[in-house]
């Protein structure tokens, strides 16, 4: 009995690890050029990247979360997505995404079908839009997207519906649409970035026209602002987390819309950051008794800071930094400004409400965020650069990414002039030197601790928000009047 229990607990991790090894092998095989195995299989770097993202997410989820949180829907979704990322057959792509939407319609007693449908409304709508877009492609003769004349079937009608399918999962949970089905929720949340695959795949067919790029960028940029302000002004922690992680999906959409190498790199990297945020998110408030964990003498707010995007060299910061650089390199300075603003404002919910206790999952998440950020040149070089090279035919020359594998990253414009540069590994080396200096100073000067850092007072987020609304005109009117406001 004990053996069976142990097998049940290690089976998810083993399965996900096998999937991850397979994904890495696929990345290696496809790093130079796509591999076609007629009639259905089409292996290329874009598909391999998405397969890697699926199984890396599944592996992280299995490692950091309880096995009970993964139902059959989770594993079936992962397998179906893997199948769709390695095929060129457009009807199969439609079938897979529609199936994923349908399996998330929870079984409901008679009369409650509408409730079940409403809970799965987001994937159902996205699948319907995708079915129309890709269905039109298939109907016009592009049953295989790598067929010689498949590009001729791509027009604005197809594009709008595929864009719609990618944009619908950006919607945060609102009111009664908030999904409470614990079995269905993980796969929907974790694999939400998969809806970008059909959109990115359109670059294989043909270059986008400027109107399409503009629409995707506007949608992504607008959603970035909306979700960032939503995260700042929300009064519940769950909604703030939902808005915050979806901000990275919006960022990815804007990056994909830029139609340049730098934007695509930012989009792919943001998908990885989204995945990290979903996996490390706490569904319940941490309590000292069940989840609290301390690491050396670091305060428990450290993991939240590392996942907030406030600290340079962490993954959320790098994702936003990349889209700022990609926007500026592509000549879309307003998108760069919007992304930069959301980077600064996006960290403020953690500033107002940094948790007093951090779980093991958050600590691991913080460590991964730092590692992924510092090693972003290697991540780009190994996982994302092949995607850009293989989709080059569909991309514009306005903006590219320069990877200095041992130093950092840079975004360059069409004249190869540096627009942004961040020596991530170099700066991390300097931070190590500075930390050593600070440690040395603290040993030499022996400071006396003046402030007790323990037990921070709990603050009411909505009270702070109300006070803030009175002092920042562009945040809008406060909901209620607080008595202790200083209106200096």
């Amino acid at each position: 009995m004990r053996t069976i229990t142990r097998l049940q607990s290690v089976a998810p991790i083993t399965g996900a690890s096998i999937g991850l090894i397979g994904a890495l092998a696929l990345l290696w095989i496809t790093r130079r050029e796509p591999l076609t195995l007629p009639p259905l299989a089409y292996l290329d770097a874009l598909g391999a990247f998405f397969v890697f993202a699926v199984w890396a997410g599944a592996a992280l989820w299995s490692t950091l979360r309880a096995p009970a949180e993964q139902g059959w829907r989770f594993w079936l979704t992962a397998l179906l997505l893997t199948a769709t990322f390695v095929t060129s057959w457009t009807p199969l792509i439609i079938v897979v995404f529609v199936s994923i939407a349908l399996i998330h319609v929870s079984p409901a007693p008679r009369g409650e079908l509408t409730v079940a449908l409403r809970r799965a409304i987001v994937p159902l709508l996205a699948a319907a839009a995708l079915a129309i877009g890709y269905g039109t492609l298939a109907w016009r003769g592009a049953q295989n997207f790598d067929a010689p004349l498949a590009g001729a079937t791509l027009d604005s009608f197809v594009f709008w519906f595929v864009l719609l399918a990618a944009a619908i999962p950006l919607l945060p949970p609102v009111g009664r649409l908030l999904d409470t089905d614990t079995d269905a929720k993980p796969a929907l949340n974790l694999f939400a970035y998969a809806w970008f695959y059909p959109l990115m795949r359109l670059y294989t067919l043909a270059p986008w026209n400027e109107g399409w790029s503009f629409a995707a960028m506007t949608l992504g940029g607008g959603a970035m602002i909306w979700l960032t302000l939503g995260a700042l002004t929300a009064t519940t922690r769950a909604y703030r987390a939902a808005c915050n992680r979806r901000r990275f999906l919006a960022l990815a959409l804007a990056g994909i819309g830029l139609s340049n190498g730098a934007g695509l790199a930012a989009g792919c990297y943001a998908a990885l950051v989204y995945l990290l945020l979903v996996v490390t998110e706490e569904t319940e408030p941490e309590t000292e008794a069940n989840t609290g964990m301390t690491v050396w003498s670091f305060p428990s707010s450290v993991p939240s800071w590392l996942l907030s995007g406030a600290i340079p060299l962490t993954a959320p910061f790098i994702a936003t930094w990349m889209i700022v650089g990609a926007g500026a390199a592509g000549g879309v300075t307003i998108l760069a400004a919007v992304a930069w603003l959301t980077m600064l404002i996006g960290a403020l919910p953690v500033v107002i409400d940094s948790p007093a206790i951090a779980s093991r999952r958050r600590w691991f998440g913080g460590a991964i965020s730092l590692a992924l950020g510092v090693a972003s040149p290697l991540t780009l070089y190994l996982l994302i650069q092949p995607v850009i090279e293989q989709l080059q035919g569909g991309l514009s020359v306005y903006g590219d990414v320069n990877v200095w594998p041992w130093v950092g990253l840079a975004m360059v414009n069409s004249a190869r002039t540096g627009i942004t540069a961040l020596p991530t590994i170099g700066a991390a080396g300097l931070m190590v030197v500075l930390s050593a200096l600070v440690y040395l100073l603290s040993r030499l000067l022996r400071p006396k601790s003046a402030i007790d850092p323990s037990s921070p007072a709990s603050i009411a987020y909505d009270e702070v928000l109300n006070d803030l609304r009175r002092a920042v005109p562009w945040l809008g009117e406060p909901a209620t009047k607080a008595s202790d406001h200083d209106d200096r």
Binding site: L341, V351, W406, A410, T420, L430, V433, I451, W474, D487
Partner: protein, 278 residues
């Protein structure tokens, strides 16, 4: 690209960290700043402040802006093999302010925390729009772009966006460095970090001025020191003349200012796009 490049980067950077600009700015902001701060209470040099070394977070409030200042490509600093951009520098300099807000909101002084958070929110839009406008003039977001004044052969538009961006950035400084109506005291252990942050921002704003004065190869020390001192002087005058005014009134002025900057950025973007499509 080999590991030798990383070693060369780190090898060149140590003097920036310890001597100039990092070490010098640390001394100015932390020690001399402390002396000015306590001038009414003490006579002579105070001991080197150590309150920022009492906890890892407080130490990081100095370490991150220290790195930010050290990476500024000021005239006279050792050249690095790889540049860095304003996005990273601004984030490094912003860290102590975020920590100060959190500390006040959770442990010390909630009203001050809200005021500092409001100052941050009132400063972010104009500072981003100003830097974006400036980047239209320099063609880059790298910090070194602040030292590249468009020359006479550059298009008039580019020169205009550059100087408009510089002017806009100077006007953004009150909420950014918290002076005048936005002035706030700081928690003891974060005061050094906040001073270093202020010094870093003053240096960034003064860089076009340094470039202007050292344009013809003149490298006298006063040509580098004068622009930051002038900015500091202007901030001091602003502080003295507006410290009793309402922050909310100025926040409304900055809201209107944001709209003007946004309009300017849209015009600059539209003209750049038009040139690209032509």
């Amino acid at each position: 690209m080999t590991i030798a490049e990383l070693l060369s980067f780190l090898g060149l950077a140590w003097s920036r960290l310890l001597i100039f600009p990092g070490g010098a700015c640390l001394l100015i902001a932390v020690w001399i700043g402390e002396m000015f701060g306590q001038r009414r209470r003490r006579v002579g040099f105070p001991p080197f402040p150590t309150s920022w070394l009492t906890s890892p977070l407080a130490a990081s409030a100095v370490a991150l802006p220290w790195l930010g200042v050290a990476l500024l490509p000021l005239p006279g600093a050792v050249a690095l093999s790889r540049p860095i951009d304003l996005i990273a520098i601004v984030a490094l300099l912003e860290w102590p302010r975020l920590l100060a807000i959190t500390a006040d909101l959770q442990e010390r002084d909630r009203a001050r925390g809200v005021q500092r958070l409001a100052a941050a929110l009132n400063s972010y839009p104009p500072v981003i729009l100003s830097l974006a406008l400036l980047s239209q003039g320099t063609g880059t977001l790298e910090v070194v772009g602040l030292l590249r004044i468009p020359d006479s052969s550059a298009p008039l538009q580019q020169t205009a966006w550059f100087w408009l961006g510089v002017g806009a950035l100077i006007l953004t400084m009150p909420p950014l460095v918290e002076v005048g109506p936005f002035a706030l005291d700081a928690p003891d252990d974060l005061r050094s970090g906040l001073r270093l942050r202020m010094l870093g921002i003053i240096l960034i704003v003064a860089m076009p001025g340094m470039a202007l004065l050292t344009r013809n190869g003149a490298d006298d020390w006063w040509r580098v020191a004068l622009p930051p001192l002038a900015v500091w002087g202007a901030l001091w005058v602003f502080q003295r003349s507006t410290r009793h005014q309402q922050a909310l009134r100025w926040a409304r002025i900055y809201l209107a200012y944001n709209l003007v900057l946004l309009a300017a950025l849209l015009v600059a973007g539209a003209l750049a796009l038009q040139a690209r499509l032509a």
